[in-house]
Symmetry: C2
């Protein structure tokens, strides 16, 4: 798929974009779904950028991890918080997060609602390294 | 500025991000403001990606233009439409647009409300070429 196009959204689901539930039971995350909106594998080869939407269930969280590539994050819905090394900050829609290289980070939904956010990354990037809770 | 951080949003204005009104009277746009959220000049050098928020006033529009670099666009607020070569499509919040290389494109707000959208681009990119209305 390389042509210009509009991908329509309805209730945070996008036409033709299959949500991908993280099911790796060994990983330290809970209730996270990824929607690769643009730049996914084998698609839009001109685009060096991947645009993904993540949704975290109430009480869920992403893996506490770090890596060389940076993240640009924009919150779209819900409430939650982000861990950036030793700091925890609250999040509401349209807050922006910069995750600099090698920052230990995690996104957490509030207990009473989902947290939905865009996360933009370079297509070519290193693999995240999980960080044990309390290791930093 | 290279550290990880949260940039808080209030009513589509971001802390420390100065909106930049497009004031070039020679260009063929109307009522467009740019907010460079991440990856702007001299900031976040690790980030090869610029994340910008554009707001188009009611009845306003961006320049009809084309260029080699692609765009990843996510609508955040309001209503409007996008021109992609010979096609015009309506837009509502959270619709996603891929603008492939050399597609002639323009974003237009509805006459009765603003159109706000994120536009993600590579930091290194070619200069847009305006296209005369009716030329394609």
């Amino acid at each position: 798929m390389t042509r210009s196009r509009v991908i329509r959204e309805t209730a945070f689901r996008w036409q033709g974009v299959e949500p991908h539930a993280y099911k790796d039971v060994a990983a330290h995350h809970r209730g996270v779904t990824r929607h690769t909106l643009l730049g996914g594998e084998g698609r839009d080869p001109a685009l060096d950028i991947e645009t993904r939407y993540f949704e975290v269930e109430p009480g869920g969280f992403t893996t506490l991890e770090r890596h060389a590539h940076p993240h640009a994050v924009v919150v779209l819905r819900g409430r939650g918080e982000v861990v950036l090394d030793s700091v925890v900050e609250s999040l509401t829609p349209f807050d922006v997060i910069y995750v600099a290289p090698w920052t230990t980070h995690q996104l957490r939904a509030a207990t009473d609602g989902v947290l939905g956010f865009l996360c933009v990354v370079p297509r070519e990037r290193d693999r995240p390294q999980p960080v044990a809770d309390g290791a930093e």
